[in-house]
């Protein structure tokens, strides 16, 4: 039961973070497979079943733009941040830093009190 609750809470915690990580990574152009590898290399474990639908959703929200292009004799879809996406990312990062600092402070003070 505890494991199930942990999985569920972990999923919730990761969901927003993944969006932030994907948007940050797409400040430079990537196609799906290299994006996944880059995220994995940086410690963000994301499977294709989550990443590709997320990319499509972000594109439908006009935060990303994409184009099909040939590379290494294969057609690949390249994604990058749109102008709106850049603005949203900056706002999200500001929010993230504030939230992170606050949570860090709360966690530290409650640990020292314990």
């Amino acid at each position: 039961m505890l494991t199930s609750h942990f999985d569920s809470l972990r999923l919730e915690l990761r969901r927003g973070c993944l969006v932030l990580a994907v948007l940050s990574q797409l400040r430079t152009e990537h196609y799906g497979y290299t994006l996944k590898k880059d995220l994995n290399d940086r410690g963000i474990d994301i499977d294709e079943g989550t990443l590709y639908p997320l990319l499509r959703r972000l594109e439908s929200q006009a935060l990303l733009v994409s184009e099909w292009r040939e590379e290494d004799k294969r057609n690949k879809r390249f994604y990058r941040l749109s102008p709106d996406g850049k603005q949203v990312l900056e706002d999200l990062l500001t929010e993230w830093h504030q939230l992170n600092a606050s949570v860090q402070q709360i966690v530290s003070s409650s640990r020292s009190a314990a």
Binding site: M1, T3, S4, D7, S8, L11, Y31, G32, Y33, E48, G49, T50, Y52, P53, R56, R57, S60, W68, R74, N75, K76, R77
Partner: protein, 357 residues
């Protein structure tokens, strides 16, 4: 010869909305191909089908992978949603013939056949809504109680079906069933099959209702439409890859049939009692029932024409063959989806205590 990857992509695409099907399929193909290439580079040889199968299993069951791309499934999550969707389609396909039967029975039993048929439709719609609501509640609960992981990890990528060779493929079973139906009707119409005479229990001359003279006028057109339809379906059964000319001929046939139906429905009477008297009320009722039947037939032909037109323009479903051809695949998909019910052992019953690890 389709590769395992082709078969996998096809299996995913058939669960995706038409508009996004090829786009998502192409991107998915590129992703899986990248993994295959990476595996091949690491081994310095091409991967075997078994090794590709391992990659595909890691990517996920086609129906679940497609489900993750759905944009509106807030109540039921992507893991359970494909099973919910398959169940709803199966209910719809099973319900459609029941609705037709209910209409016919309702029309025959009521004083006014048209009102009877409409009442039957009303009751059927209420029942269908109740069934859909019940299915939604059941799957919503399953989604809440099941773990957020694929319900089935027992599927075998090598067992995925081949994609049709071309987008104008047609099911042999559908063509044969259509051919049998048309042949029977044609033989009855030209009086080779003595069905009418066998059903006539009373001698001639007592005023038993019979078809109105209006049918005589359209009889040659009916024979031509039935004959052409029969030939097309026999050709489809023989060569399931349907060329454009055959699609165009079928569409023309459908449109002519609609013209005939329009002419008949607007006629003063379709069934008449030759002698006024005992059988006149029966003739009136048969007249109404025949009108309802022709309208139903017209609706089916309109659906068939839309399907044929879409496939003629190249926008049709991957497997064509009439508006109801997907009934077979729907049931097949339902069984394949639920074949994974073995994976349902992961489903956590609220009545069963959790296993302590």
């Amino acid at each position: 010869m389709a590769t395992l990857l082709d078969r996998y992509i096809y299996a995913v695409e058939r669960h995706l909305p038409q508009a996004e099907r090829h786009d998502i399929g192409a991107e998915l193909r590129e992703m899986v191909q990248s993994r295959i290439d990476e595996g091949a580079a690491a081994r310095r040889r091409d991967l075997t089908d078994d090794e590709v199968g391992v990659i595909l299993k890691a990517v996920g069951r086609p129906v679940v992978v497609a489900g993750r791309y759905a944009t509106s499934q807030h109540l039921i999550g992507p893991t359970v949603f494909p099973y919910y969707k398959a169940t709803l389609w199966t209910l719809a396909y099973l319900g459609a013939p029941l609705l037709v039967i209910a209409m016919v029975v309702g029309a025959a039993a009521a004083d006014n056949p048209l009102t009877g048929a409409l009442d039957a439709v009303g009751r059927s719609v209420t029942t269908a809504l109740a069934a859909f609501a019940l299915a939604t509640i059941v799957f919503w609960q399953m989604d809440r109680l099941s773990p957020k992981q694929d319900l089935d990890d027992h599927w075998v990528p090598q067992a995925l079906p081949n994609p049709p060779e071309a987008s104008r493929g047609v099911s042999r079973a559908y063509s044969i069933s259509q051919a049998i139906l048309l042949a029977t009707y044609l033989l009855w119409w030209v009086d080779v099959l003595p069905l009418t005479r066998l059903l006539r229990l009373v001698p001639d001359g007592v005023g038993v209702p019979e078809l109105a003279p209006v049918w005589q006028g359209v009889s040659p057109a009916i024979i031509v439409v039935l004959s052409v339809g029969l030939v097309i379906n026999l050709l489809n059964a023989w060569r399931p890859q349907v060329p454009r000319w055959r699609l165009a001929a079928q569409l023309t046939c459908d449109l002519v049939a609609l013209g005939i139906l329009y002419f008949l429905v607007n006629a003063d009477a379709l069934v008449v009692a030759p002698v006024s008297g005992l059988f006149t009320p029966l003739a009136d009722r048969l007249n109404d029932i025949t009108t309802v039947g022709l309208l139903g037939l017209g609706a089916l032909i309109v659906l068939s024409s839309i399907d044929g037109g879409r496939r003629l323009l190249g926008n049709g479903p991957p497997e064509g063959g009439g508006p109801f051809q997907s009934f077979g695949p729907a049931l097949h998909e339902w069984s394949r989806t639920w074949k994974g019910a073995r994976g349902m052992r992961h489903f956590k019953s609220p009545l069963r205590p959790p296993r302590v690890k």
